[in-house]
Amino acid sequence: MPADTLMPIAIADLAPAPLRVRWSRQQAIVNFRGDPADAALLQALSGVVGLPWPTRAADCPNDGPADAHHRVVWAGPDDWFVIAPAGCQSAMAKSLREAAGSRHHAVTDVSSGYVVLGLSGPAAAEVLAQGCPLDLHQRSFAVGASAGTHFFKASVWLWRVQDDVFELLVRSSFAGYVQEMLERCTLECGIESD
């Protein structure tokens, strides 16, 4: 019998490096609610963040994987998270309010309500697949794609920053649970915290 059938496929076989995990607890996170049909509004918002303002689930404009950068996460047709460098939440909220002007909108600072979790390494997609029902193959979930979904029993927003770099927006009170699940499902590939 061929020798390779003796050993099961481990995640380690598919992804020989450990999962790298980074929790960013100090990001500025502001929730914006407003009318997606208002083109002028979207343009103004885009101006605030310096990124295209997404209008559908599949898009998550971002400018790279580092902490000190911006993300705009589509969280619903009239619902977005703006993630920005630590400490700028008040300024960001103010700018967003100004962009919305007198239109019906809501701006809420939720910086402490969520943490951003970065997962990277060749194991990232395989580990996510243990608890997330999305198809994370590059053909279905390319770089820049985003989705609201769940990782095990925690609701998360998830987006792909690079081929093997994902970020998750996790509610603060679920962070311990998510970390616990990451540890449980990386016994074969290993886990490293940044």
Binding site: A57, P133, A147, G148, T149
Partner: protein
């Protein structure tokens, strides 16, 4: 596990959704003028058909939006989903119409 086509996010796994029961039940206006029977019909009575069912779902672990769905309760197949306030799919008219309430009065509600 069903695949549900969120009108905002596309097809997703059932585990992201919450079921919201029968759809299209408008809350009556001027509730104080209703008889107990009319009120009870609105609160409790359901068509619960075996076949095409107009129902509501919420993409709870997702965009958070409620939407309408037409689903066959025997095969569990979805025959369409649509946003609140949007036009239902063609199959909508083929569904079994709910039996009339016991009282003959049809309660008027907000049009959606």
């Amino acid at each position: 596990m069903l695949i549900i086509d969120c009108p905002f996010c596309g097809p997703r796994a059932e585990s992201e959704f919450a079921y919201g029961g029968e759809g299209g039940i408008a809350r009556p206006l001027a509730t104080e003028t209703l008889t107990d029977e009319q009120w009870g019909d609105y609160v409790f009575m359901r068509s619960n058909p075996k076949g095409l069912h107009h129902e509501q779902w919420r993409h709870a672990s997702g965009c958070g939006k409620w939407f309408n769905a037409l689903r066959d309760t025997l095969t569990y197949r979805f025959h369409g989903t649509w946003k609140i306030g949007a036009e239902p799919p063609e199959a909508f008219t083929r569904r079994v119409q709910p039996a009339a309430p016991v009282g003959e009065t049809v309660v008027e509600g907000l049009a959606r």
